[in-house]
Symmetry: D2
C-alpha cells in the first residue's frame, strides 16, 4: 500500500505535462528523497547528441522539488526558488537517474542536493550536481 507521501507526490507528478512529455518516471519516493529516471531519447538531445542540459536540469529539479515536498505539510505546494547545476560529464547512456535529497528541512525553505548519473550497461557515471532552494507555499484553491 502506498504511503501518504507517495500518494501526494504521485498526484502532483501526474499533472506535470512536461515530465510526461519527455518520458521521465519517478522510481523512488522516500522521506526527503526522490529518484527520477529518464530513458535516453534522441529527440531530447543538443547539438552533440547528448541529452540537453535543460532536460538534465528538469529531472533533477523535479527530484529535488519532490524530495522537499515529501517533508512539507500536506496542504503546501512546492516551488523552485533557484538552483545551480555543474555539468561534469556528457549526458550519454541507456538512461539518466536523478536523485534529489533535502539537506536540511526548514519550515519554509529547503536546501536540496541533487545528482544525475548516466547509466550504461548497468554502470553509473556522474553527469551533473545540483544545489537548490525549494519553498513551501500555501496551496491555491
Amino acid at each position: 500500500m502506498k504511503t501518504e507521501i507517495e500518494q501526494r507526490v504521485e498526484k502532483s507528478y501526474a499533472k506535470q505535462n512536461a515530465m510526461k512529455n519527455i518520458g521521465a518516471v519517478i522510481t523512488e519516493i522516500g522521506s526527503g528523497t526522490v529518484t527520477i529516471e529518464l530513458p535516453f531519447r534522441t529527440d531530447l538531445t543538443q547539438q552533440n547528441g547528448f541529452i540537453h542540459a535543460g532536460i538534465v536540469t528538469m529531472i533533477v529539479d523535479t527530484a529535488c522539488g519532490y524530495a522537499a515536498y515529501s517533508l512539507m505539510p500536506s496542504t503546501a505546494a512546492v516551488l523552485t526558488v533557484e538552483y545551480k547545476v555543474n555539468f561534469i560529464s556528457p549526458a550519454l547512456g541507456d538512461k539518466l537517474i536523478a536523485r534529489g535529497r533535502v539537506l536540511k528541512p526548514g519550515r519554509t525553505l529547503m536546501a536540496c542536493l541533487g545528482e544525475v548519473h548516466a547509466v550504461t550497461d548497468g554502470k553509473e557515471k556522474l553527469v551533473a550536481t545540483m544545489l537548490a532552494t525549494m519553498i513551501a507555499r500555501d496551496q491555491v484553491g
Copy 2:
C-alpha cells in the same frame, strides 16, 4: 545576407533536437548576444500549469551558450560548464523570450548573464535570471 556568426549558430542550432521538440526558435544573433523565443504550450508545463523550470532553463541556457559561441573561433564548440537560475515570477504568458549575453569574453571561459521574460499582450515580465559559465572546446571531427 547572413553573417558568418549567424550561419555558425544556425547550423549548430539545427542539430538541437530538444529545442526543435519544444518549439523554440532563435530570433536574434548578435556579437555576444542571442535571443530565443518559445511560444506557450500546455505540454511543457509543471503541476501548476506554468512552463516547467527545466524548460525555462533550457531556452536561456541555449541563448547564453550561443552568445558565448558567437565570440569563439569558428573551429570551437561550446559546452555549458555550469549555471545558476533564480525564478522570479511564474512562466505564464503568450510566449517566453530568453536573452543571453556574454559578460566578458575569455579565451576559454565565458561568463554569461541571461534573462527570461514572459510576454502577455505585448507586455514583458521578468521570469528568471541566469548566471552561467560556458567553455570553448576544440571541435571533435
Copy 3:
C-alpha cells in the same frame, strides 16, 4: 537629512564587525540599491596578491543584502539564503566597488544582482558578478 532607509541600513551596518575589520564603507543607499567600497589592503589577499574571493564576496553580499533590506518593512531583518558568484578578472586595483540591486522585490524573498568592479586610476573593470536570494525575517527582540 538622512532618509529612514539610510538610517536603518547604517544602524545595522554599524553592528557588522567583519565589515569594519576589512575597512569596507557604504557609499550609497538607495531604494533597492546599495554601494560599498573597499580600499585595497595587502592583508586581504590570497596567494597571488589579489583580494581574496571570499572578501570580494563579502562586500557584494552585503551590498545585495542591504539593497533587499532597504525594501523591507522596518520591523524585518535580512538574511542571505544563498548566492552565486562568477569571478571574471583579478581583484586588483586601488579599491573595489560593490553594487547590489534588487531584481524584483518580493514579500519574503528578494532576488538580487550584484557586481564588483576594481578601480585603478579612476577606471573600472568588472571583477565579479553575484546572483543572490535574500529573505526577510521577523526581527528577534
Copy 4:
C-alpha cells in the same frame, strides 16, 4: 614526513594573507580533499553576531580550491571560476570546519563540493554547502 601535495598546499597557503588575518588553519590535506578550521572570533561577525557569510564562504572556497589544487600538476596554479553557497543555519559555535572535495577531477576544470559545519561542545551542525568550479592555470613566474 610531509607528502609532496601537503608541501605544495602549505607553501601556497602561507602566502594567503587574508586567511592568516582571520585565523583560519588547514587541518587536513588529502588527495582531492582539504579541511580548514576557523575558531570563532567576534571581529568576524555580521549584524546578528554570526560569522559573516563572506567569511564562511572564504574558508570553504579555500578548502575547495586546495582540494582541486592537490590533484593538479605541480606546475599549475589554482583559481576559483565561480561558486554557489547555500546558507543553512547560523554560523555560531566554538569554531567552523570547512571541508572541500573534488567531485570529479578534470584536466582543466574541477567541480568541487564543500561543506561548513559549526562545532559547539564537540557537536557539528551544517552551516553551509558550496558547489564550485576551480580551474588549473599555468603558474606565472
